[in-house]
């Protein structure tokens, strides 16, 4: 469990009221304000707050969810399935759950902390994804319920994640708690984020329920939080690894850790990845023939340095420097009868971030984060038919970021947080098109206030986010200043004290701001764009349990959601397809269900199995224009059914991993007709790992992977064929 994953589940309800903690806190009050608030928390007032809270929850639920919900039942009747399912689970649980099961016991490996939350939280750690045959964050995220990883194929292919069909630009990414951003394109290529130095990947619908976090963590429709191992240097040691596989894949890595003393530790992690990637696929032109992907090579270097200084138990500083550089071919989509592809992309990302977390007093904490980021990319097309017969685009992005967050616990029920972020970003280009380029500078202020109340069986958290965004340009029109308030509320309730079960709800309103490309892309950008708004509603139920001996743990959750997206920013062609412009056209109605089941059984001292299953149903509708043929048709690339399974079998030194990914058919952009259909797929991966002893300890780890076991020819995006059967093997040694 990562420190940032907040313990909001019923774990927190374990300490009984009379355990003295609250009394101790009371004794430590020093100011009148503290006394005043402590007095407020008297039994009567607590009762009133509870009543008011329940009332608030009830009305919020009624207003925000029931209206679409009733419509949903009337229209589709599908929500009934959830209700029935929830009912069945409840009935089953009430019949099965022994009264003796005390919530206090649930502190073991079962992930109550990430299951019984106010929002759906899905998490994988390194031990798990090692079995997933994964290289980049994209390979892990695709197993989460409700995600669509748009994978353009191969190691170098773009991979972005859209959560619940809201769109990839709505997914915020935190890297060690600090936002990663690409103000130019808005979508982070998850294929560029290696798993080598990560220890945890967590996906939060809506936002992380933690209090001490930057305001930017509240500013997306979903948040993907990535935690590195950088601050985990608890000894002076080293790990060296090497992996190799199909299509010239070669991937050495090295990590050095140094623990100077109890205050200071540092680590350095470096990795090289290369592949020619020219895999074969079924040719589109002729049945039965095979074609080869062209221009798919990639070379990438990544280095990360981390340093942590712990003053004492209440204060620490983290520093990270990150560098990534890659050169790759852009194979593009397969074009019928035309195999030529020579476009290239080079990019360099450097960022340095520092964070200071301090517990100021028993009840108040603060966190300050700062970051500087530099991002360079160069795109070339030697086949471009301009006068020079060469197209070169060179862009530079710089970003400065400062964030301060403060939390205060009024008492054991009520706490509050305030976070304020400032981001400065700029985009410059240095190529043949600099003349009249707006060279935008962006000032982005975010302020967020959160109030959280938690009783034994009820959590309510609400926040309001203020956005102020101003762009300054050197040429062309200056867009209007954007000012907006957006709220979010989340609640979870434990209906029966003895059951480790929670019913949860959230509502969130948020938008994504137009990116630099949306606004200023030469001839295409549109400075009049409005932000793209999304409203999310979620109602779910989660259960987390284990038996007494801690041999069998399991958790399950089912969430139903409704998303409404308006003013979608869409590229629309002008007179011909070589001239596009960005417009706010697009309204989407997205309804679905995400279900996650996790079980871990220790059979005996040798054998252990863990199973994770996820399933998502969604019904997406384009409701932009009633007179369009696309009205009430599915959104592009949104499958009705998708799911994944991960099974790991542990036997002594061996681990066998089996992974499954499935998607029903989808349609590419256009009407839902046969010509636009992209077929569904079912992909199987297996892996076998074992550890070996070296100098008396299990320090050597070897793994063999077979990906796409049945050599299935499939596409995630139409005309971007995915790799077939492939092999990888790796070994790593701890020194």
């Amino acid at each position: 469990m990562g420190p940032q994953v907040p313990v909001t589940g019923f774990l927190r309800h374990c300490p009984p009221k009379a355990d003295g903690k609250a009394t101790k806190l009371k004794a430590s009050q020093k100011t009148c304000l503290h006394h005043f608030i402590a007095e407020l928390s008297g039994e009567r007032l607590a009762g009133f707050i509870r009543f008011a809270g329940t009332l608030l929850l009830f009305f919020t639920f009624l207003f925000l969810f029931m209206i679409p919900l009733t419509r949903y039942i009337a229209n589709m009747g599908r929500m009934a399935v959830v209700v029935i399912l929830a009912g069945l689970i409840t009935t089953y649980a009430s019949a099965q759950a022994p009264d003796t099961l005390s919530p206090v016991n649930v502190t073991g490996t079962v992930r109550a902390d990430t299951v019984l939350t106010t929002v759906l939280v899905q998490r994988f750690d390194k031990k798990e994804w090692i079995q997933f045959n994964s290289l980049s964050v994209a390979d892990v995220v695709r197993f989460f319920a409700g995600t669509l990883v748009k994978d353009y194929g191969g190691i170098g292919g773009l991979k972005t994640v859209s959560v619940r069909s809201i769109g990839a630009s709505h997914t915020g990414i935190l890297y060690d708690g600090v936002p990663m951003s690409d103000a130019q394109g808005g979508q982070i290529d998850l294929g560029k984020i290696s798993l080598d130095n990560l220890r945890e990947v967590v996906l939060f619908n809506s936002q992380p329920p933690a209090l001490l976090q930057p305001a930017r963590a509240y500013a997306s429709a979903a948040v993907l939080s990535l935690r590195t191992s950088g601050d985990q240097a608890d000894s002076t040691s080293a790990t060296a690894g090497i992996r190799a596989g199909s299509w010239g894949f070669f991937n050495p890595s090295l990590t050095l850790r140094h623990k100077a003393n109890k205050h200071f530790s540092q680590s350095l992690n470096g990795e090289w990845q290369q592949a020619d990637g020219s895999y074969r696929f079924d040719a589109y032109e002729q049945d039965g023939s095979r074609a080869k992907r062209n221009n798919t090579d990639i070379k990438a270097l990544r280095a990360e340095y981390d340093a942590t200084y712990r003053f004492n138990y209440t204060s620490r500083i983290n520093f990270k420097a990150y560098y990534y550089s890659s050169h790759r071919g852009l194979p593009g989509e397969v074009i019928l009868y035309n195999t030529r592809s020579r476009q290239r992309l080079e990019d360099q990302i450097f960022f340095a971030q520092a964070g200071w977390q301090k517990r100021i007093a028993l009840k108040s904490r603060m966190a300050i984060n700062a970051k500087y980021q530099y991002y360079y990319n160069r795109y070339t097309d030697p086949d471009f038919l301009n006068a020079q017969r060469f197209l070169e685009n060179r862009f530079f992005q710089r970003e400065g970021y400062l964030s301060a967050a403060y939390t205060y616990e009024f008492n054991h029920i009520l706490s509050a947080a305030y976070a304020s972020d400032f981001t400065f970003s700029s985009l410059r280009r240095s190529d043949a098109y600099t003349e009249n380029f707006p060279s935008p500078d962006r000032h982005h202020f975010l302020n967020n206030a959160t109030l959280k109340a938690r009783w034994d069986r009820l959590d309510i958290q609400g926040n309001i986010l203020h956005t102020y965004l101003q762009d300054r340009v050197k040429a062309g029109n200056t867009p209007r200043i954007l000012r907006a308030y957006t709220p979010a509320i989340a609640a979870s309730y434990q209906p029966v004290a003895a059951w480790p079960m929670r019913v949860r709800f959230f509502y969130k309103e948020i938008f994504r701001v137009p990116t630099f490309n949306d606004r200023y892309y030469t001839l295409v950008g549109n400075t009049n764009l409005r932000p793209e708004y999304v409203r999310q509603y979620n109602l779910g139920v989660a259960w987390a349990s284990r038996d007494f001996s801690n041999r069998f743990t399991w958790s399950a959750s089912v969430d139903a959601y409704y998303n409404y997206v308006r003013d979608k920013i869409v590229a629309v062609p002008r007179q011909n397809l070589f001239q596009w412009t960005m417009l706010n056209v697009g309204t989407a109605d997205i309804r679905g269900i995400d279900a996650v089941l996790y079980g871990n059984k220790k059979w005996n001292e040798h054998w252990r199995t863990s199973v994770r299953l996820s399933y998502s149903y969604q019904r997406t509708l384009d409701i932009t224009n009633p007179s369009s043929p696309l009205y009430k048709t599915p959104l592009p690339y949104a499958p009705a059914h998708s799911g994944s399974g991960n099974v790991s079998v542990y036997y002594g030194k061996y681990t066998l991993g089996y992974n499954l990914l499935l998607s029903s058919y989808r349609y590419r952009q256009g009407e839902p007709i046969r010509e636009n259909m992209v077929e569904g797929f079912l992909i199987h991966d297996v892996s076998l790992a074992r550890t070996f002893a070296y100098r008396g300890q299990q320090r050597i780890r070897a793994i063999a992977e077979v990906n796409n076991l049945f050599n299935t020819n499939y596409e995630v995006i139409r005309y971007y064929p995915m790799p077939g059967l492939q092999f990888r093997a790796g070994v790593s040694v701890d020194f």
């Binding site: 019928l336 471009f384 301009n386 224009n625 696309l630």
Partner: protein, 356 residues
């Protein structure tokens, strides 16, 4: 079902086509027989260029006619930009796949796919015009490629300006709009004059920034729509006098596609203009009709514009939102709708060719 409907006209046309001598089109003023049906080409979004066929006798559209007639072919390719019927063949220009697909004009059956390559580089063909036993194809690599209609090979490539787009034939000369669209911000502004006998570029006429669409009248003039630079330089319409290659008239008006018929210019607005088909006076470009449609039929995005010179029917394609199937609309010359049909699965219908 649709196949059955097509059979009678197909047979009739094969007889008709066989009775005509090959490649005998006279651009001066042919006596046209009535169209049996119209082909409609849709650009598509990617790899789904679509050729449909609308039978004027059965009033039905076969949306994916090419696929139906050629089930063993994978499809036309990526971005069907233009087509022309010359002689007994239909030449379909597929821009991004970079080739010209030749099919039998009467039956739609596949004859040949001509690869448009210069060495290994794609020529990216754009528009096609037939003349003198040849089909001339403007290519983004700055050439007009000449297809020999007997061997169906590229006989030669004539160098013109940068990124040529539409062409118009007048007498023995082809007028080629050199857009320079890929050479942004340094657009081209010339019209190349190419002699179809000598297969050489005779001269270039400066007309205005970013010329796109060209049409010729029968009184010795050529009209060019220049798109401008989408910014400080506005779109303009230019009238060129062929005899002395002088500019006879210009007007600042946004025109997408322009066609000459019945002593008028028929003009779409393009992206930067209005979503109507207008008619303009050829003399002073004054607007004779702000919207040639007289019965209130709305067209969301008028995109392609072709006129059946035999009866004056005006065919407009509606690209709608550019992502869903478009529409083919036919009006009589007074602007009353004759029919409208969805081009499903064709996305962004752009060109109509008449099967006579």
């Amino acid at each position: 079902m649709k196949k059955k409907n097509l059979l009678p006209w197909t047979l009739a046309l094969m007889v008709l086509a066989a009775s005509c001598s090959k490649d005998d089109v006279n651009p001066g003023g042919p006596v046209l027989s009535p169209a049996q049906g119209v082909y409609v080409l849709s650009e598509g979004s990617s790899n789904n260029a679509t050729l449909g066929y609308y039978s004027l006798s059965s009033n039905t559209l076969t949306g994916n006619f090419y696929q139906q007639q050629n089930p063993t072919q994978a499809g036309l390719g990526s971005i069907g930009n233009d087509m022309t019927i010359y002689g007994s063949k239909l030449y379909i220009v597929v821009n991004v796949s970079s080739d010209v697909v030749v099919v039998n004009a009467a039956t739609g059956t596949f004859i040949k796919r001509i690869a448009f390559k210069e060495g290994s580089t794609n020529k990216e063909p754009r528009y096609a015009v037939g003349a003198k036993g040849k089909v001339f194809v403007s290519c983004y690599d700055g050439t007009v490629a000449v297809i020999d209609t007997t061997s169906l090979n590229i006989a030669t490539s004539i160098r013109v300006g940068t990124n040529p787009e539409e062409m118009a034939l007048s007498g023995d000369n082809l007028y080629v709009a050199n857009s320079g669209g890929l050479n942004f911000p340094n657009y081209d502004s010339t019209l190349s004059v190419v002699n179809v006998n000598s297969l050489t570029e005779i001269t270039k006429i400066k007309v205005g920034i970013n010329p796109q669409s060209v049409t010729a009248d029968d009184q010795g003039f050529v009209y060019v729509s220049c798109t401008g630079n989408y910014g400080s330089i506005p779109a303009r319409l230019v009238k060129v006098k062929i005899s002395d290659r002088s500019i006879a008239k210009t007007a600042d008006t946004a025109a997408g596609r322009i066609r000459y018929y019945d002593n008028k210019l028929w003009v779409t607005g393009g992206y930067i203009g209005l979503p109507y088909v207008r008619t303009l006076s050829t003399a002073d470009f004054s607007q004779t009709r702000a919207n040639f449609v007289t019965d209130g039929t709305a067209i969301a995005t008028p995109y392609g514009l072709d006129i059946d010179k035999q009866n004056g029917d005006v065919y407009v394609t509606d690209a709608r939102d550019y992502v869903s199937s478009g529409q083919l609309l036919c009006f009589d010359k007074t602007g009353r709708k004759k029919f409208a049909v969805n081009t499903t699965p064709g996305v962004i219908p752009t060109k109509v060719a008449f099967n006579r």
